[in-house]
Structure formats: C-alpha cells, structure tokens
C-alpha cells in the first residue's frame, strides 16, 4: 500500500543554484549609441530616405530597409513614456524601497530606452515629464554609464 504522508518534514527538498553567464556585443549599429554615452551624448540613427530618427542607433531603417550611415546627436531631453514600480530585484528578493523603471522616448525619435528613475516622490504624476540623466564618473560604454534619470525641474 502507498503510505500516506501527513508530516511534510519527511519530504526532502534539495536546493541548488545554477550559474551561467553570457556576453552580448552591441554590433556595428548599437555600438554607436553606447560609445557616445561615454561623452554624455545621446545619438540617433537618421535614415536618408524617410528622415526618421532611431534610438538606440541601428544601421538599417526598419521602415524602408535603407542602410544608415548618418548618426546625429539628440540634444533635447527625453520624456517618460511609461513606468513600472518594482518591488523585487531580478533574483526575486524583496527591495527595501520600490524602484521605478521607466521607458524613455525622445520627441520625434523612434524607439527609446529603459532605465531607472530616482529622486522622486511616488505621488508625482510621471508620464510625459522630461527627465535628465545622471551619469557615472567613470564611463565604459554601457547602459549603466547612466546611474539613473531624474525629473527635470
């Protein structure tokens, strides 16, 4: 007969951890965006056919499939397109204080980036507000060269 287990401490659970890592190279197109972050600049790709701007940079226009050779600096500040409150980190641990993840867009530019928003009261209305980046002192050409964004006062 099958034994009925009514004491769950008799059931063993083995815990473990699998570790892996990967390396992502940006490639010829995206690299231009990250290279320019070192100089605190935001660059966009400009399609010579339709004139559309893209962030992050890419080497093909996704609308007309035209090859892109022109990259321009976007000096205007981005605005908050959408946001999410995060209560857990990537490994499912509780955060002491909730963080805000935002999706940023630039006026008249296709695409955008995801980043953190700090120095803000949760009551403030967020969508549409202009934000400015706070840069790291030592920059290496990746998205974390920007520590976070804050609302432009």
């Amino acid at each position: 007969m099958i034994e009925k287990i009514d004491k769950f401490d008799k059931i063993k659970i083995l815990k473990g951890e699998k570790v892996g890592w990967h390396r992502y190279t940006y490639g010829n197109g995206e690299e231009i965006f990250f290279k320019n972050l070192i100089d605190k600049k935001f660059f966009a790709s400009k399609c010579k056919n339709c004139g559309k701007l893209f962030i992050p940079t890419r080497i093909y226009c996704e609308d007309c499939f035209e090859e892109i050779n022109e990259f321009v600096e976007i000096k205007e500040l981005p605005y908050i397109y959408s946001y999410t409150l995060l209560f857990k980190d990537l490994e499912d641990n509780d955060l002491k204080e909730p963080e805000i993840a935002i999706f940023l867009k630039w006026e008249n530019v296709e695409g955008g980036i995801i980043h953190r928003l700090k120095e803000i009261d949760l009551d403030e209305i967020l969508i549409g507000k202009k934000v400015e980046p706070v840069f790291k002192e030592k920059r290496e050409g990746n998205i974390n060269d920007i520590l976070y964004f804050k609302i432009k006062k």
Binding site: K10, H22, R23
Partner: protein
C-alpha cells in the same frame, strides 16, 4: 552563399575594440524529492542504503520508487541493502560537471548495490583505495573492471546531510570481503 557580417576575434574583446556587456545569471532551484527518495536520503544520513520491493515481480529497486515501472504495481516494503556492490559501468573522465578540464581523472560509475535486484544501482564516484585520487587512465584500469567489487566510504556521521554526497565515494575491495 556569403553572409554579410563582422566576425569577432578573442583579441577584439580583450583589447576592448568592440563594446559589450557581460551578464552573470544565478538560477536557484528547489527539487522536491518525493516520498521514496526522501526516505532514501534520510537513510543515507544514518549510513544506510534502502531499496524498495515490488510485491508482484519481487524486484528490489534502488534508488527506491513508490511504484514498479514494469508491473505498474505500488511497491510495499523498505529493504535495507548493503553498502557494497559491483561496478555495472564506469567512465574515466577528465571533465568536471561544468565541462571545465581536470588534470587527473575521476571515475563516475553505476554501482549495483548488493541486496538489490540485478541491474539496480546508483551513480557515484569510485576513488583509488589508498590515495583516493587517480593518477591516469592506466592506473584506473588496473583496479576497475565491469563487475569489480566496491564498498562505500561514508562521511563522518556529524557531517552527513541526507544527500547522495553523504557517501564520499566507493573504493574497490577484494572479493569475499
């Protein structure tokens, strides 16, 4: 067909000619052992290897299970097995579990446990009877063949946790012991 692209070399990464990000992932898991294996691991903690008997075909199975996969009949009895056995199959490996290279080989083997039915065994490591570590393939083959008698070497009772590693390894022993 020729593909357009930008091939990369190790050198390009080392000299930071291209930009990249590294990401390290930690994936936690919890594996529920179920009724049969929980009992089995609890037994290991006490220095005992348990099998499970099928009342229909009378096989004694290890690792234990709650039903017989041949008769589809629930198993009914815990059987205490010996901590000796015979090599069913083995391998001489210069790789660790994560595919990193070893200088000296290790010997993973399926060991048929004495007291269990034929072909019933567990996967474990076999160590050199005196110096534990094997020097090379030739040395392993001097001691181990399919059918060689082996005996479990247990961790100290205090160190046991109810895991398969409570048995440190098996070592070859002489016949009749």
């Amino acid at each position: 067909m020729e593909f357009k692209g930008t091939p990369l070399k190790d050198r390009d990464i080392k000299e930071k000619k291209v930009f990249y990000v590294d990401w390290h992932v930690k994936a936690h898991y919890a594996w529920d052992c179920g009724i049969a294996l929980s009992y089995f691991f609890e037994g290991l903690k006490n220095g005992k290897i348990y099998g499970r008997r099928c009342p229909k075909c009378k096989r004694v199975m290890v690792p234990p299970r709650m039903f017989c996969e041949l008769c589809f009949h629930p198993t009914d009895k815990w059987i205490l097995l010996k901590d000796t056995g015979r090599v069913n199959t083995f391998s001489v490996s210069y790789l660790n579990w994560d595919a990193s290279r070893r200088e000296k080989p290790q010997v993973p083997a399926v060991i048929e446990i004495d007291g269990a039915s034929e072909g019933m065994g567990i996967l474990h490591l076999i160590a050199h009877p005196e110096k534990i570590e094997w020097e090379n393939l030739e040395e392993v083959l001097k001691y181990i063949k399919v059918g060689t008698k082996v005996k479990a070497v247990w961790k100290d009772e205090k160190e046991r946790e109810g895991k398969i590693t409570d048995i440190k390894y098996f070592i070859p022993i002489k016949e009749g012991k």
